[in-house]
Structures are given as structure tokens and as C-alpha cells.
């Protein structure tokens, strides 16, 4: 585990070191100008948030029905990253919106569902932090509900808002822009894997210490 982590960390650092160069070289978008560069953080961040949330939900389901501790460690480590990437998405989003729509926030389906997904995972972490014993199982139930909830949030907000249609900026991705975007995405994936490996390892050690304490108290 540890050796792979070092290799991954090295690769992630390399990708991040090169990313600014690639982003700088990418062409300027005509209407957005320099602000368009946010896109190279925003979209990969949002993608990561979605994929990791999906992963956390699946892991929670596995934990709930099989009681395998590793699934819970994976779910917790993933949930923390959802909050991390969610924060990144939700900070860069309004910066983009200010330039594209003239407002910081818009009750658009995608924005609202991202915000709620982020909030649900914060609630999950709060539960894990302050819920006391047994909160791992409660958290798993919560994450499963969160997963089922996302389509409902999307449909309801979409319908609620499309009654008042608004034009949105759809980024036309030309190849010179797509390159740096996927490069940044690769960087995030590598970073995420490093964090994930470390966090899971930490959780495993915590579980082992807890088991030792229990054994010592009984003995």
C-alpha cells in the first residue's frame, strides 16, 4: 500500500506541476476570457464529486448488507472527498456564474442538486463525527438514501426552474481546451487516490486500535 502511495503521490505532483503550463497554453475563450480558465478546475472537480459520491453510496450499501468493515472505511474516506471536491465545485461555480450570467448564484437544477448532494454528505460526516457508537450503520443508511435522492432533486429542481427558462452557457469544448481539462481531471484522480489510500489506511489502524482497547477492557 505504502509503496504505491508514494508512486501515486509522485505522479500527482508531476501532473499538477505541468497543469498550469497546459492551461496557460490553451486558447482564450472569446466571451469569457480569462475567467474561462476556472473551467479546468470546475468541471473535473464536479465530475470527481459525482463519481466519488456514487462510489460512497455503493460502498455504504455493501457495508449495510454484508457488514464488511473495509466497505465502511472506503465509504467514509470517499464521503470526505465528496465534501472536498464539492467545496471546490461550489466555490468555482459562482465565480463562473458571475461572469456568464451576471449573478453569483442561480437556482438552476445542476447547481441546486450539487449543493444538496454536498449538504447531504456534510450531514453524513456530522453524523459520523457526533453520532456516537453505531453511527457507521446509520451513516450507511443515510448514504443509500442520498443516492436514491439525487434524481428526485434533479427532476424537481429542473421542473421548478424550467417554468422560467433561462439561457445557460454551454461550453463548446474544442480539442485544445479538452486536452488541459482531461489533464486536470487526471491530476484530481491521482490526488484523490493518494488521499483515499492514506485515509483508508488510517481508518484501518483506528479500527485496529479500537479492537485492541476493547480486548484490553475485557481481559
Amino acid at each position: 500500500m505504502r509503496k504505491y502511495t508514494h508512486i501515486l503521490l509522485g505522479a500527482a505532483l508531476l501532473v499538477f506541476a505541468l497543469a498550469p503550463v497546459l492551461i496557460h497554453r490553451a486558447p482564450y475563450e472569446s466571451t469569457m476570457g480569462l475567467v474561462q480558465k476556472i473551467f479546468y478546475f470546475h468541471l473535473p472537480g464536479a465530475l470527481m464529486m459525482l463519481f466519488i459520491a456514487l462510489f460512497a453510496g455503493v460502498m455504504s450499501g455493501i457495508f449495510l448488507f454484508t457488514k464488511k468493515p473495509w466497505a465502511d472505511h472506503y465509504a467514509l474516506a470517499a464521503a470526505e472527498q465528496v465534501v472536498l471536491f464539492g467545496a471546490m465545485t461550489l466555490v468555482t461555480g459562482p465565480l463562473w456564474a458571475r461572469k456568464a450570467w451576471g449573478v453569483w448564484w442561480e437556482w438552476d437544477a445542476r447547481l441546486t442538486s450539487s449543493l444538496l448532494l454536498w449538504m447531504i454528505f456534510i450531514a453524513y460526516l456530522l453524523l459520523r463525527r457526533f453520532g456516537g457508537p453505531g453511527s457507521d450503520k446509520l451513516g450507511a443508511g443515510m448514504a443509500l438514501f442520498a443516492l436514491a435522492n439525487v434524481p428526485f432533486i434533479y427532476v424537481s429542481v429542473n421542473y421548478w426552474r424550467t417554468l422560467h427558462p433561462k439561457t445557460t452557457v454551454v461550453p463548446n469544448l474544442v480539442p485544445p481546451m479538452a486536452g488541459p481539462m482531461w489533464w486536470a481531471f487526471a491530476g484530481f484522480v491521482l490526488m484523490s487516490l493518494v488521499l483515499f489510500a492514506l485515509r483508508v489506511q488510517q481508518e484501518e489502524q483506528r479500527a485496529r486500535v479500537e479492537a485492541l482497547y476493547l480486548a484490553a477492557n475485557e481481559g
Binding site: I120, A123, L127, F130, F145, A148, F152
Partner: protein, 227 residues
């Protein structure tokens, strides 16, 4: 299958019998929901006129808030006397226990709404008698969705620390679709020229939400409640 419904029915009757002796939940929940209604009215009524179509919003916020209170108290009662453990030990289907508790909460919340809805009509001149069936269906479907998620979460949290704080924290983000659909559907009925078709769309969404979340709750109740 008949045993399943018999267990659910017995638990529902037990909750009613307990409640009929004290009236604790009914009286506190109804009072709290009316207090909510008033607080929002003071915040949103200006110069004797409500701002925009707030009636539907206020109604659903009062339902959601008082529902949280009722959920918390119902399970606090089971916790104090350790009767939830006794229920769990009973040789009965776990999902049947869930359905029984859900029916109790649903009954309580609907009872509150029977008082709340006429008050909204009174305070905000909301036309509740124009489309009574649509309105009743929206309230029933919305309350069922809210109570289905709420009952599961409140039951899960019985053993957790800081459960009073955790219930709204977990419940509100998950039930956002219920609130949006309930508020928009009710607002469509309350507007100057009621839009029944729009209300029906939201009703369909609520029914779909109910089906998915009741199924999911029945499915997860057993593993979540097993110690």
C-alpha cells in the same frame, strides 16, 4: 402477509392507545405547528398583505417542522422506557414494526394538517375548497414521503448520541424533493387561476418519491436496526 399487516396494525393501535391517554404528542405538535404558522406570518405579511404566494410555503414549512418534533418525541418515548428494544425482540417482522410506527406518525401529522390547512386558508385567503381532492392528495402523498424517511431516520437515531440535533440535520436535505413538490403543487392550486394539471405533475412526483423511499426504508430497516 396477513401477519405482517396484523403486526403493523397492532403497533399502530398501541401508539394510538398510548397517545389517547396523555394527548402529549397531539397537543404539542398542533400547538407548535400553529406557532410556526404565526411566526412565518409575522415575518412575511406586510401592510396586511402576504408577500407573493407564500401560503403554500408556510404551510409546508409548518408541516415539516412540526413533523420533526413529532418524530423525535415518538421515538424518545420508546427510548425512555426501552420499549423499542422490546419491540425489536418480539417475534415479528422488522419491516412490519416500521410500517406500524409509520402509520402512527402519519396519523399524527395528518391530524395536525386538518387544523393547519383551514388556518392557512383563514390567514392567507387560500382557496382550499376549490380543488379539495387535489389538495388532500398532495398533502397525503407529501406527508407520507416525509414521514417514511423521517420514521426510518428517527428509529435509527434512537441509540445515537445527540439524536435531537441529528434528526433535522439528516432529514431536511433528504426531504427537499418533498418540500419542493409539495410547495409547488399546493401553490399551483392556491394561485389566482388554479393550475390542476401542474398540481397533478407534482403529485405524480410525490407518489413516485413515496414508492421509492418506502421500499428503500422497508429494505434497509432490518440491517440498520440490527445491533
Amino acid at each position: 402477509m396477513t401477519a405482517f399487516f396484523r403486526v403493523a396494525w397492532l403497533i399502530f393501535r398501541k401508539d394510538l392507545a398510548v397517545e389517547a391517554r396523555s394527548w402529549e404528542l397531539v397537543s404539542t405538535t398542533v400547538f407548535f405547528s400553529v406557532a410556526c404558522l404565526l411566526v412565518f406570518s409575522f415575518a412575511l405579511i406586510n401592510e396586511g398583505q402576504a408577500v407573493g404566494d407564500v401560503a403554500a410555503g408556510i404551510l409546508w414549512v409548518a408541516i415539516a417542522f412540526s413533523g420533526t418534533l413529532a418524530l423525535g418525541r415518538t421515538f424518545e418515548r420508546e427510548r425512555q422506557t426501552d420499549t423499542l428494544r422490546a419491540l425489536m425482540l418480539a417475534p415479528a417482522d422488522r419491516p412490519a414494526l416500521y410500517v406500524g410506527k409509520l402509520l402512527g406518525i402519519l396519523f399524527l401529522m395528518l391530524l395536525t394538517e386538518v387544523i393547519l390547512v383551514p388556518l392557512v386558508a383563514l390567514f392567507f385567503q387560500a382557496p382550499i375548497v376549490d380543488w379539495p381532492l387535489h389538495l388532500a392528495a398532495l398533502l397525503l402523498a407529501g406527508t407520507l414521503g416525509y414521514a417514511a424517511v423521517g420514521t426510518l431516520f428517527a428509529a435509527m437515531l434512537v441509540r445515537a448520541r445527540s439524536r435531537d440535533v441529528m434528526l433535522p440535520i439528516l432529514l431536511y436535505p433528504i426531504t427537499v424533493p418533498v418540500i419542493i413538490a409539495g410547495v409547488r403543487g399546493t401553490a399551483a392550486l392556491f394561485q389566482e387561476t388554479p393550475d390542476a394539471a401542474l398540481a397533478q405533475f407534482w403529485l405524480a412526483l410525490l407518489v413516485f418519491f413515496d414508492v421509492v423511499f418506502v421500499t428503500l426504508a422497508l429494505w434497509t430497516f432490518e440491517p440498520v436496526m440490527t445491533e
